[in-house]
């Protein structure tokens, strides 16, 4: 699992720019799938025909990033956000664009910390004129924060693209296991989730799942500053009750809970009001005349910041839970 996550983290995939990652994702599932495709919006889809209801695993492929909006006179770049990075957290960070060009994000002089908007940020790519900068980059080019995959001890890892390469790795693992069990299963690595779940609806419309399971980062509050924690790192996968986009039906939540029990996996419950953890679940649930949706998320600290911490054991258990829930689902 750790190696899989690591290899997925090597790609840059800002929203709308997921295609750099698409081939790698397809390679990880192609050998066990009957059909694979990349749809019009960039969703990567693999399907294994088999027994039982059609269960679709959904993990977003994109990560939050920035996009170049202007190249100014002295070769400084102006950027806007693409996803949910807070501008104030980017000051001093390095950014790498889709074409490999790197730069440093900095702040206009005389800006108070509390007021920082993307308007106040610029990127220095080491060029001294608009013309020379324009040889390297163009308006519309996207980038992500440089924060590589890093191991923190035996099971914990961190990096800028944990959200949601860990989810992709869980989905790949669960998809392969379910395919080996000859279940009717699809996996979708969705596009443009971080800008508001824009891709997943199209894939859901095409697949009409009997059950969709979303795999995403579940924010933990087990860090200093919280008087009590509702979700903790290392305490097992998080079964979604509610996020900002969807309330999971009691029937599906119970099924996931039972599946965890059956496998002897400790699970937690995720209750996230609007804005604190929005996922693809809502867009899936409200496709056509409604789709049964559940969420199995991995605990993640510092979601929305430039580096997220995850425990690989949680991810492994999430995959086991998903396989059990998907293979025992009767519709």
């Amino acid at each position: 699992m750790k190696e899989l996550i690591k290899s997925l983290c090597e790609h840059i995939a800002p929203p709308g720019g997921e295609r750099a990652l698409s081939n790698e994702l397809l390679e990880k599932v192609r050998d066990v799938a009957h059909q694979t495709s990349i749809d019009r919006l960039g969703n990567v889809i693999a399907t294994k025909n088999g027994d039982g209801p059609h269960v679709v695993l959904m993990a977003h492929a994109d990560q939050s990033g920035v996009m170049i909006m202007d190249i100014a006179d002295k070769g400084f770049l102006r950027i806007i956000g693409a996803g949910n990075l807070e501008p104030g957290r980017l000051v001093g960070c390095q950014v790498v664009f889709q074409n490999g060009v790197k730069g440093v994000v900095q702040l206009e002089a005389n800006t108070k910390d509390a007021e920082i908007r993307f308007d106040h940020l610029f990127v220095d790519i080491g060029k001294s004129s608009k013309a020379s900068a324009s040889e390297l980059v163009h308006i519309g080019l996207s980038g992500v924060i440089v924060a590589p995959f890093t191991e923190l001890g035996a099971t914990r890892i961190c990096g800028g693209s944990m959200d949601n390469r860990v989810g992709c790795a869980i989905a790949i693992t669960a998809f392969r296991d379910l395919a080996a069990m000859n279940r009717h299963v699809s996996v979708v690595f969705t596009a443009m989730q971080t800008v508001g779940a824009r891709g997943v609806g199209a894939a859901t419309f095409a697949l009409s799942p009997d059950l969709a399971i979303v795999v995403d980062a579940g924010p933990c509050d087990d860090v200093p500053g919280h008087d009590v924690s509702s979700t903790e790192l290392g305490k097992g996968p998080i079964i979604q009750v509610m996020d900002g986009t969807a309330i999971v039906s009691v029937r599906i939540r119970r099924h996931l809970e039972e599946s965890a029990k059956k496998k002897g996996i400790a699970a937690q419950f995720g209750v996230w009001p609007k804005g604190s953890a929005d996922t693809d679940a809502g867009a899936i649930q409200l496709t056509k005349a409604g789709v049964a949706v559940g969420g199995v998320h991995y605990p993640a600290r510092y979601v929305g910041s430039t580096s997220t911490v995850v425990d690989v054991q949680d991810a492994q258990n999430a995959a086991i839970l998903i396989v059990e829930a998907a293979s025992s689902y009767e519709g």
């Binding site: 709308g16 019009r40 919006l41 806007i80 519309g140 824009r198 199209a202 894939a203 419309f205 095409a206």
Partner: protein
Amino acid sequence: MLLKRLTQAMGPSGFEDEVRGILREEVSPYVDAIYTDVLGTLICEKGRSQPGPCVMLDAHMDEVGLMVVGVENSGLLRFRPLGGVDPRILVAKRVRIGSSKLPGVIGSKPIHLQKPDEQKHPIPEDELFIDIGAKDKEDALANVQLGDVAVFDTLYDTIGDGCVKAKSFDDRVGCYILSEILKKSYAVPLVGAFTVQEEVGLRGATAAAHRIAPDIAIALEATVCFDGPFVPSHSEGTRLHGGPALTVQDGRTVADVRFLRFMMETATKHNIPYQLRRVKGGSNDFAAIQKSREGVVGGAISIPLRYMHAPAQIVSSKDVENAIRLVDAILQEIASGNWVEERFAN
């Protein structure tokens, strides 16, 4: 003159009748089928049985406006905005109300009677009223009904070098471009949608896209242009006379990079100037169309517009002309089979 007639017509969101009437009359002779959907979007089909991808061209008919929601005993009318109106621009403007286009003015307390501090703050919406000259409530209600809508009373005319001014270029300029395109013929199935209710949440386009189920869609829009010398280049959005603007990202869309490259290459090939929209928010109907059904390829072509949503707006005639040329060139290229997704993949 079509653009003049369109911009002087009244059509706030949900009340697009006059605009629809002008467009129906204008394009009917040139299309195979023309009809309205249940929301009021005017759909025009042309060569739909031809082979090739179905292309949907979208322009919204509605504009921001006001709705009369109450009458004071004095005969002054209370109103609420329809769509995103900046209350600061309302004061001391003339409006036209209802289907009879009754004139009215939005007044305020004269400067002599204001406290010094009052002038520093915008006048809140609930302190603004429309005056139609009514003597009292009864007189007002004999002339307007609650629910009547109002728009700015602005005349279309030329201004400066190669520019025109009017209200509601957002998005009558798109309607104009779409009308001109529908007068031409292409070897590709084409559906023009003059949509309703863009300003209150891309609502007409949402339903229309589901019904039309296009393969490719292009929204024809107006976009922010604030290109004075006092504005840093990253805040100007677009430049007037800089050519039609293509989207890389806005509030609701990240560009379909392949189609963006195709449009850029087409512009270059046909010697048409273009620019990229450098905006931080905002959106247009393409955002809704893109997510329809199994997803739609495409983008938006936008006309730089100074003073969006304000009573008097400016566009460059050259930009409008070049937008028509660009849409024309893109349709020709699609018809010749030159839109091949893979070619623009990297």
